[in-house]
């Protein structure tokens, strides 16, 4: 039935249209309660579904948060244990070193003190004894004959002898004082030695005290981590994020180094494995160069593991010390050989490049480029040096890699928590949109049938008015 047919039920299309409008509005009015119920239930169902979904996601978010916290705390605990272990090792080393020297130190101190004591004894000042016959002078002087010539002579002789004795005594006293001063000045090195020894002891004790304070601080943080306090979690979380970005940056730098390394060896590799062989769409020479770099990185990882700098492979860390040392030497030897190979390849690259340039120049008939520059050896040496050094530089990739891997767990957790939070919020908002949307649709529906609703309203009002009048009259 076409639209024109709808408008042709009466001769006038307008009248036909009006009739249809009335019929439709009447039908909508009759179906009002059912449509309202349907809209209400649909809105309710969607709202509840979104609410339940949101709650479920919120629970998942909480679980993930808890799990992330556990991971974070476990990682933090492990890291802190390593730090404390290392601090204790340092304290142990320091104590071992200093205590082993203690007997010698004590002996040196005792010897120095004994020597000082001996010197001190030798340096005691002995006053010169007064001459014994001064009393004789007093007796002669008391003789009652002042004008006696003999007495004068005796006294003059005595005076002369006294002056002489006095000079001798002073001379001896000076000599004795000089020798005592000499002994005292000989004590100075002993004093300096004692002072130096005591300074060293003080320094060691200060270092120990400093370390013990650091251990106290780490222990406090460790306790916080074990207790799982919010502060500890917050600190570990921010630290983990910083570590993630810093290690990612370092890895990007390392990737740059690996790319340079690759370009150094890919070209000459074609000379060894052929320049036109392909494996799965990639040049065999490129794959070979990549394999060499990857082997270098792997050897670097093993070397770092064997040296217990990183802990990515617990099996290597748990090996007996003898085996570990062997592994260090084996991996280092392989790395050294690979570095030598790379240096050789870098040299070969330069030769090939020169050869290619020379051939191109000959073919172009250009003879100016055929003469090698005087400074050619600089680029050759630089390339060889890079070829040799880069494999060893790539060894240190293991450290940021370990940090990246460990911190990535936490970062993925944090990102996951954020995403789940956003999804839960969106679902909650969407649930409310459905709920209020249903109300809005109901109102919109009522707007379409506003005329019959108004009539209904008037009728009800009138009926209620009559009923109330009847109620008022009837009593």
């Amino acid at each position: 039935m076409s639209f024109d047919q709808f408008l042709s039920i009466t001769p006038s299309p307008v009248l036909s249209g009006l009739i249809w409008v009335v019929i439709i509005i009447a039908l909508l009015y009759l179906a009002r309660s059912m449509v309202h119920a349907a809209i209400h239930s649909a809105g309710g169902v969607l709202h509840n579904a979104m609410r339940i979904g949101s709650r479920s996601i919120s629970r998942a978010e909480a679980r993930l948060k808890e799990r992330n916290k556990e991971v974070l705390l476990a990682a933090g605990r492990e890291a802190k244990e390593r730090i404390i272990e290392r601090e204790f090792e340092r304290v142990g080393d320091s104590v071992d070193k200093d205590l082993s020297k203690y007997p010698a130190l004590r002996r040196r101190l005792n010897e120095a003190i004994a020597r000082i004591d001996e010197d001190h004894q030798n340096a005691i000042d002995v006053p010169p004894s007064p001459p014994g016959w001064t009393k004789a002078v007093e007796v002669v002087a008391k003789i009652d004959a002042p004008s006696d010539y003999m007495i004068g002579n005796i006294l003059a002789d005595i005076h002369k002898s006294l002056v002489k004795a006095h000079n001798q005594a002073i001379e001896e006293y000076r000599k004795a004082s000089a020798s005592r001063h000499k002994i005292l000045s000989g004590m100075m090195p002993q004093w300096i030695k004692i002072q130096q020894t005591l300074s060293a002891v003080t320094k060691n004790i200060d270092s120990l005290l400093k370390r013990s304070r650091a251990i106290d601080r780490h222990m406090k943080e460790y306790e916080d981590i074990v207790k799982g306090t919010d502060r500890a979690v917050q600190t570990l979380s921010s630290s983990s994020l910083v570590q993630f970005f810093v290690s990612a940056l370092v890895l990007v730098v390392a990737l740059g180094g690996a790319t340079v390394n690759f370009s150094l060896i890919a070209r000459p590799m074609a000379e060894m494995v052929g320049g036109t062989n392909f494996i799965g769409g990639f040049r065999t020479a490129d794959i070979a160069a990549l394999v060499i770099i990857l082997v270098e990185i792997t050897m670097g990882l093993f070397l770092m593991e064997s040296m217990r700098i990183t802990r990515l492979f617990p099996v290597i860390g748990a090996l007996p010390d003898k085996m570990r040392v062997r592994m260090i030497w084996v991996t280092f030897t392989i790395l050294f050989l690979l570095a030598c190979v790379e240096a050789g390849l870098a040299y070969m690259r330069e030769i090939l490049l020169q050869d290619e340039l020379a051939t191109s120049a000959i073919l172009r008939g250009d003879t100016t480029l055929m003469v090698a520059g005087d400074f050619q050896w600089i680029t050759t040496a630089a390339q060889m040096g890079m070829g040799f050094v880069l494999p060893f530089a790539l060894v240190f990739v293991a450290i940021p890699l370990e940090t990246f891997v460990h911190s990535m767990r936490t970062v993925i957790g944090v990102v996951g928590i954020g995403l789940l939070g956003i999804i839960a919020l969106l679902m909650r908002v969407l649930g409310n949109v459905f709920r209020y949307g249903a109300n809005f649709l109901q109102k919109l529906y009522d707007l379409l049938i506003i005329v019959p609703l108004w009539i209904e309203h008037m009728v009800v009002r009138k009926r209620n008015g009559s009923a109330s009048q009847f109620k008022e009259v009837s009593p």
Partner: protein, 214 residues
């Protein structure tokens, strides 16, 4: 886990050991030595040397002259398939260049011009080499002049071939009636394209980068 990994490794190995796709280039240059065109050989040497710089390991290159009867291996002046190793390939290039230089010094002009015979020989050579890309350069004025009795009205199998006419000079008669020149080129284009080939003309020898370009 091992059970899951094994099929992946197996598939990878199958892919790796499958029929290798040829990625090398085969180039065959036909050199017109007839009449006045033999004076253009300096340019030809320049083009050959340029082509050598553009070819790499595993590529094949041959230079043949166009004379009275060009469908012959004897007309191949120099041919080479470059070694896999770049250093050896460089040495081969130098030797090839020397051979061409010696040839251009000792060339003798031929009375007739059998271009079709040369193209047939080029098709045979490049098909034998099984290169991934096949290019035939024709350094000629493209004026075919067959000796009586030579039959060249035979279909060419140029499917997958690129035919590049180089330095197509104008003859004296072309100057009188340029339609002859245009008809000549159009005729060769029709022949090449009807045989499944791809036709190009490069007259500007200062822009040789288009020579092996796509």
């Amino acid at each position: 886990m091992r059970i899951r990994i094994l099929p992946v490794i197996f598939v990878f190995l199958l892919t790796a050991c499958g029929e290798p796709v040829a990625r090398n280039t085969g180039a065959y240059l036909l050199l017109d030595t007839s009449g006045t065109y033999s004076q253009e050989l300096d340019k030809a040497e320049h083009i050959i040397n340029y082509t050598l710089t553009r070819l790499g390991p595993s590529d094949s290159f041959a230079v043949a002259r166009i004379d009275t009867g060009s469908f012959s291996e004897k007309d191949i002046v120099a041919k080479v398939t470059f070694d896999d190793r770049p250093s050896t390939a460089n040495r081969q290039k130098r030797r090839f260049s020397e051979q061409i230089a010696a040839f251009t010094r000792s060339i003798k002009s031929s009375p007739y011009t059998d271009i079709t015979g040369g193209i047939l020989q080029a098709i045979e050579y490049l098909n034998e080499k099984e290169t991934g890309r096949k290019v035939i350069f024709i350094f000629s004025d493209m004026k075919e002049d067959l000796m009586e009795g030579y039959i060249r009205d035979i279909p060419l199998e140029l499917d997958g071939f690129e035919v590049v006419a180089l330095n197509v000079t104008k003859l004296r008669t072309d100057n009188v009636d340029p339609r002859q020149y245009l008809d000549r080129l159009e005729g060769w284009k029709t022949v090449v394209e009807a045989s499944g080939g791809n036709w190009r003309v490069i007259n500007d020898l200062d822009r040789l980068e288009k020579l092996l370009g796509h």
